[in-house]
């Protein structure tokens, strides 16, 4: 009889598991690869059927994403030679670049609002979670339930009251307004997730810091925060993903000044027909910040920094 072990798996099992993981990864990656590839296709290649897997890449999509263009007469085109490589690309359609598009601005809005609300959610969430975890708060359980209950309906259900409220407060179409709104939605998640992480940190660390001559607040940020880094990193990723992808409120509450990228990208379709490569280029660029943020924090997600320091 062969011995069976939970940890030592046979090479056949390993091969099957590895294959499954790779197949799953390929399936989930496919749409992303498709979007990335479409961004480099010409409009004709993008809509050809059957779809082209091999194509000659072009930056047309990206040029169209970042510029506004206008059609010109042959005479004008001959008298004014192209000024740069981007201009040259659009000339094949008898067009010239007349200025930048709004994409850069909208993208920057997304960065400001997304990261701003993430920072604020984490800041407030960590303090609240610490208080709930460590201090005796009257009605703590009810308060925690109340905080969570704000998540029990879809946020968009309160869209109309918020729309009216924001109009009266002058928060419509402002960065501050959107940061506050996304923070309000995210904070319940942040408090609950972070409370779980902080509950796991033994109180002895803070008590040791108190004994070592530090104040409670010093003990909090010198001892508790480094231990909670893992939890803070993963909570921040969740908050950023929500704020970054949010579409409905952004459509409703922003327009000229504080519009974020999600409501902007579909409007590209309207400019001079269905410009799929430009939409795909916008979507690709839009994916990058969350990806980079997640990769940057990955080591915190994976590293268990408290291993073994307190014996249990």
């Amino acid at each position: 009889m062969s011995s069976f072990s939970v940890t030592d798996t046979s090479s056949r099992t390993k091969r099957i598991a590895g294959t499954l993981v790779i197949v799953y990864a390929l399936i989930t990656m496919l749409p992303l690869v498709w979007i990335g590839a479409t961004g480099f296709k010409s409009p004709a290649d993008a809509i050809s059927y059957p779809p082209k897997v091999v194509f000659s890449p072009t930056l047309e999509g990206y040029v169209n994403l970042f510029t506004t263009r206008t059609r010109q007469t042959q005479e004008y085109l001959q008298n004014n030679p192209p000024t740069n490589w981007a201009d040259e690309i659009v000339r094949q359609y008898d067009m010239v670049i007349v200025g930048p598009s709004k994409f850069g601005e909208r993208f920057l809005n997304s960065v400001i609002i997304g990261f701003g609300s993430t920072f604020l959610s984490i800041f407030l969430g960590t303090l609240a979670a610490y208080a709930f975890s460590r201090f005796k708060i009257p009605l703590a359980d009810d308060l925690l339930f109340f905080i969570l209950s704000t998540r029990m309906m879809p946020p968009i259900a309160v869209a109309i009251p918020i729309f009216l409220m924001y109009r009266n407060l002058g928060l419509s179409d402002t960065h501050l307004g959107m940061i506050l709104l996304y923070t309000a939605v995210n904070i319940s998640l942040a408090v609950w997730l972070l409370k779980g992480f902080i509950d796991e940190i033994p109180r002895e660390y803070e008590e040791a810091a108190l004994i070592d001559g530090y104040t409670r607040f010093q003990a909090f940020y010198k001892v508790v925060l480094p231990q909670a880094a893992t939890g803070i990193a993963s909570t921040a990723i969740f908050c950023l993903i929500f704020a970054w992808n949010e579409y409905a409120f952004a459509v409703l509450l922003t327009s000229a000044t504080a519009q974020t990228a999600p409501p902007f990208i579909p409007t590209i379709i309207g400019i001079g027909g269905l410009d799929w490569p430009a939409v795909a280029a916008g979507a690709t660029l839009f994916l990058l910040p969350v990806m980079i943020f997640t990769i940057m924090l990955r080591k915190h997600l994976l590293r268990g920094i408290t291993f073994g320091a307190v014996r249990k």
């Binding site: 033994p202 002895e204 660390y205 040791a208 004994i211 070592d212 001559g213 104040t215 320091a309």
Partner: protein
């Protein structure tokens, strides 16, 4: 270094009384043990001295100053936690220097101090290691280093050996005691292990159910228990209790148990009702002539001694006798009691009756 006076200290968590009005004095340079079963309030008492809990009422004096309501940072008392509580994100050197950093000490001075302490504890070679991978003993030493580096007025230790393997405990206990003797620092040490308390302590407070049962030297606590709890808790096997009912007057020197007359130290107070005759196993000797007789039920061989269980007319007894003596199961033997070591207890109050034996003992009465 300092003297600590605890006066009528009390701690209540909601309706739960963790420590009832307790008083004792830790003298300058003493190695002082707080001993008791888990949940008896010993750790709460220790935490109140350190400032991690504030007493509900009562006073704590450190070097003559009342400190009971001060934050821990304003007390100049170091604390060694049971689980060590080394900061996991810092290496050994930074852990030890942490209390000095909070005092704003210069970097070069901190470096000197840490090296000095590392030398005392023999941990120079692990100073730059992260604390995560250290063995239990090394963690213990680092935790001690963090406590002694600041040269506090007093040390609080909460079962510091509790997390160590048995073989290592004895060595660390010796190291701890040696370190204490070398530094002469006032130390309050919490343990539930009576052997550890007897072995290391200059003085012991025995606590049970939030109450101080007895306060004295290890010898006093062992030889002159103030309550039945102390008599039972200290010593292995514990004291034999032979229950009886009767009436005793001051100056009595004998009691009668189920027809057997036994000697006791002269009583200093009278008592009646449910009483108990307490004698330690090693104070019983086999003697053919004695008229107090019992039947051998079992014998446990322990090397130099053996523990013999006997069935007598007054109840079951354990006797510790030399292993060279013969104890055959089923045999009837006579027992001699070293009567000057006997304590009589009042079972309804649990207190020892005052006698020639236990004069001057500090109990909870």
């Amino acid at each position: 270094m300092a003297e600590i006076i605890i006066k009528n200290i009390r701690k209540q968590f909601g309706d739960f009384v963790a420590v009832q009005e307790s008083s004792f004095t830790v003298e300058d340079g003493e190695f002082f043990m707080l001993l008791g079963p888990s949940g008896c309030g010993k750790t709460t008492t220790l935490r109140m001295i350190a400032g991690l809990e504030l007493p509900t009422s009562g006073e704590i004096f450190l070097d003559g100053e009342e400190i009971s309501q001060r934050p821990p940072s304003a007390r100049d008392i170091a604390f060694v936690f049971q689980m060590f509580a080394l900061y996991p994100h810092l290496n050994v050197r930074k852990n030890i220097s942490y209390p000095l950093v909070s005092q704003g000490m210069s970097k070069s001075k901190i470096k000197d101090k840490v090296s000095e302490v590392a030398g005392i504890l023999g941990i120079e070679d692990i100073l730059n290691r992260p604390v995560g991978g250290l063995s239990g003993g090394d963690r213990q030493r680092v935790a001690l280093g963090r406590a002694i580096v600041r040269e506090p007025k007093a040390f609080m230790m909460d079962e510091p050996l509790g997390a160590l393997d048995a073989e290592f405990r004895e060595r660390m206990a010796e190291e701890l005691r040696a370190l204490h003797d070398r530094m002469g620092a006032t130390t309050v040490y919490v343990t539930h292990d009576q052997l550890e308390a007897m072995q290391m302590g200059d003085k012991i407070v025995v606590m049970n159910n939030a109450v101080v049962e007895q306060f004295g030297t290890p010898r006093e606590i062992y030889d002159k228990p103030a309550t039945m709890f102390v008599a039972d808790f200290i010593g292995s096997p514990s004291m034999n209790f032979l229950d009886f009912e009767g009436k005793l007057a001051e100056n009595d020197t004998q009691v009668e148990l189920s027809g057997t007359v036994l000697n006791i130290p002269a009583l200093r107070e009278g008592a009646q009702g449910k009483l108990s005759y307490g004698v330690r196993p090693e104070h019983l000797q086999f003697s053919d002539k004695a008229n107090f007789r019992g039947e051998v039920i079992a014998s446990e061989y322990l090397g130099t001694t053996q523990i013999v269980t006997l069935d007598t007319a007054c109840g079951m007894l354990k006797a510790r006798i030399g292993s060279d003596q013969k104890a055959t199961v089923g045999e009837k033997v006579g027992l001699n009691v070293n009567s000057q070591t006997v304590t009589v207890f009042d079972r309804s109050s649990g207190q020892a009756l005052k006698s020639a034996l236990n004069e001057g003992v500090v109990g909870n009465g």
